[in-house]
C-alpha cells in the first residue's frame, strides 16, 4: 500500500508549500519509447509532482487530435504494453509518483489482476481509465486496490451527486474533467470547473486535480487557485510535437513554465 501513500504525500507536499500539484502527461512511445526515460527525467527536474504515463490505444475516444496523433504514432512505431511496463520499472525509483492513463481494452486484454500486479511491481502508483466509469468499474477497482494500485475516479461537469458519493472511498486523488468534451487545449478555462471542484470537496476526502484543456501557465495558475492539482497533457505533447528531436528540452522548458504558474499563488484559499 506504500504507492497509494506516495500520491497522498505528493499532494500534501505541494499543499504544504501553498501550491497545487503539477501533473504533466506524456504518451509512452511518442516520439519513441526510447525517449521515455529522458522525458520522465525532464519532467522530474522541471518540478512535476506526479507524472501520468499514457499507454497508447488504437481508438482513444476520450482524446482530441493531439493525443490521438501521439497514440497513433506510438503504435505505428511498435510500442507494446509489456515494453512500457518493463521500462517504467527503471524510472519509478528516480521520479515522483507515476500513474498510467490508458483505455479499458488494453487493460482488460492484459488481465486486470495481472496488469495491476505488474504495474505495482514496476513502482506505479495509480491507474486512470477514461472509458471505465466508476459504476461499471468496481471489479477493476477491487483488483487494482488488491495490488496496491489506486484506480483514480473521474468526475465531470455532468456528474450527479450520487456519483460523487460513490467515489468517497476511492484512493489516490479525484480526476476532475474540466469540460464536457475530449482532451485538447481550450482558449479559456470553463467557469464551471470551480463549482465542480467545490462539489467534490464537500463529499470526497481526496485531493482534486483538474485536467482536460489546460493550455498554458496562465490557465494552470487560474486552476491552481482552487484545485489541488493541475493536469496538463495535450499542451505538453503538442509542444513536444513541434520539435520531437528536442522533446526533452521542450518538455523541460514548458513544465518549468507551468510550474511557475502553479507556484505563484500568493495566498491559497
Amino acid at each position: 500500500m506504500t504507492t497509494n501513500n506516495s500520491l497522498h504525500d505528493a499532494f500534501r507536499a505541494a499543499r504544504d508549500e501553498g501550491r497545487a500539484a503539477l501533473i504533466p502527461y506524456v504518451t509512452a512511445g511518442y516520439p519513441s519509447l526510447s525517449r521515455l526515460p529522458g522525458l520522465v527525467a525532464a519532467l522530474t527536474e522541471a518540478g512535476a509532482d506526479v507524472i501520468e504515463i499514457g499507454i497508447p490505444f488504437s481508438d482513444p475516444l476520450a482524446d482530441g487530435p493531439v493525443l490521438q496523433r501521439a497514440a497513433t504514432e506510438a503504435l505505428a512505431n511498435g510500442t507494446r504494453v509489456a515494453q512500457i511496463l518493463e521500462m517504467v520499472r527503471d524510472l519509478t525509483p528516480k521520479a515522483p509518483p507515476m500513474v498510467f492513463l490508458t483505455y479499458i481494452n488494453p487493460v482488460f486484454r492484459y488481465g486486470i489482476e495481472r496488469f495491476s500486479q505488474d504495474a505495482y511491481d514496476a513502482g506505479m502508483a495509480g491507474l486512470i481509465i477514461p472509458d471505465l466509469p466508476w459504476a461499471e468499474g468496481q471489479d477493476f477497482r477491487l483488483a487494482a486496490e488488491a495490488s496496491g494500485l489506486a484506480l483514480i475516479p473521474l468526475v465531470a461537469p455532468t456528474s450527479t451527486d450520487s456519483h460523487l458519493h460513490s467515489i468517497r472511498t476511492a484512493k489516490g486523488f479525484v480526476y476532475g474533467v474540466s469540460v464536457t468534451g475530449v482532451t485538447g487545449m481550450r482558449a479559456a478555462v470553463d467557469s464551471g470547473v470551480r463549482t465542480l471542484v467545490e462539489r467534490v470537496r464537500r463529499v470526497v476526502p481526496l485531493p482534486v486535480a483538474v485536467g482536460f484543456g489546460i493550455a498554458n501557465a496562465q490557465q494552470a495558475h487560474e486552476v491552481a487557485r482552487y484545485a489541488d492539482g493541475v493536469i496538463v497533457g495535450s499542451a505538453l505533447v503538442r509542444t513536444i510535437m513541434e520539435d520531437p528531436s528536442h522533446a526533452e528540452e521542450r518538455a523541460y522548458a514548458f513544465v518549468k513554465e507551468l510550474k511557475s504558474g502553479v507556484n505563484q499563488l500568493g495566498s491559497k484559499a
Binding site: S58, A62, F108, R109, D131, L132, P133, E136, T180
Partner: protein, 399 residues
Amino acid sequence: MLTTRVPDRYGRFGPFGGRYIPETLMPAVEELTQAYHQVRRDPEFQRELNALLKDYVGRPTPLRRADRMSQALGFDVFLKREDLNHTGAHKINNTIGQVLLARRMGKTRIIAETGAGQHGVATATAAALFGLKAEIYMGAEDVKRQALNVYRMKLLGAEVHPVESGTQTLKDATNEAIRDWVTNVRTTFYVIGSVVGPHPYPMMVRDFQSVIGREARSQILKLTGELPTHIVACVGGGSNSMGIFYPFREDPVALVGVEAAGEGLETGRHAASIQVAERGILHGSLSYLLQDEDGQIKPAHSISAGLDYPGVGPEHAYLHYTGRATYVAVTDRQALAAFHQLSQWEGIIPALESAHAVAWVIEAADQLRRDRARVVINLSGRGDKDVDQVFHMEQGGAQ
C-alpha cells in the same frame, strides 16, 4: 426452453454488454434508459411509432417464397423483404424509433455514425421528417466508397463529417461520434445504428428492429402453417439479425448469423469477430472484438462497408456463448456470387451485406436439402447502393 431475460438492469447479457463510456456520458445514458423505459410502455408513443412504420416506412414488408431459388436448391426459401423499406434497408426501423424518442426527450441535435451510409441516410431521413438537424460521421475511406450515399444524406439536409483518423472507416466514425456526444451531451441525441454501444442501446435497437421478426413469424405461420427450420441473416453490428432472431428465440428454430469472412478467415483480412470469439471492450460494451495481443483494435475487412466493423453487439456474443444461435462466415467472393445469383433467380438485387446471408444458404444447400429445411432469409437491404462499386470492381478487375 430455459431463458432468462436479458439484459439485466446493468445492461449485461451474461458476461457481455455493460457501459464502458466516459463518466461525462453516464448521466446521459441513465436519462436515456429512463426515457426509453417510459416510452416502451407508453401506448401513445407506440401508436405514433407504428403509424410511421406503416405509412412512412411502408411496413409490413412482404415475406414470400423465393420460387426459382427454392427450385434450384431443392428446399423452401423465403425472403423477408427489408429491402422494400423506405430508404432501402432495415436501418430505418431503428432511426424512426430513436428520433421519435429524441424528440420526446427535447433533444434538438441528432448525430450518428455510418459505414456504408445506410444508417446515415436512415438517420438523415428520420431527422428531416421531424425537422431536426442531423450530423453524420463517416470514415473518409467510406465517403469515397459510398459517394452516392453521401450525396443522399446531403439532399436530406444532413451534414456529413468525413473522419480522417485511424482506418477511416466505421469504427473511427463511431469514435468521432462519441467525441461529439461527450462534447455536446446536453443538447445532442446519439442515434446508434446497430445493437452495439453502451446500455440501453443494444436492447433498445433490438426492440426497434424486432418488428422484423414479429412480422416474419406471423407471416410464415400464415403462409405455411408452421415455423421455419432456419432463420438466416447477415451480421455486421448485428441489428437486422437480432431484429429477426429475437421473436423466434423461444421457438425450435435454428438462428444462423452470417459474418463477413472478407478475403478468408485464414488471411486475417475479415470482419468475423464471432468466428474469432476474443472478448474485448469497445464503443461502450464488452463483446467479441478483432484485436491484437495488446488489445489494440484490428481493422476489419469486407467487400461490404456495412459489415466492415471489428466488433459485434453484446447480445450476439451472448447467443454464441449460450449456443442459442450459430454463427458462420462467408467470403467476399461467395457474397459477390450470391449477389449475382439472387438477382437472376428472383429479380431482386440484394445489398452486399444481405448477399452474405444468401451465400451461406447456397453454400449449405446440400445439408439443408437433406434436412428438408424451410429457410427464411432476412434480406436486410437492396443492392442499388452497391451496383456502382460492383460494376467498377468487375470492370477494373481489382479495387
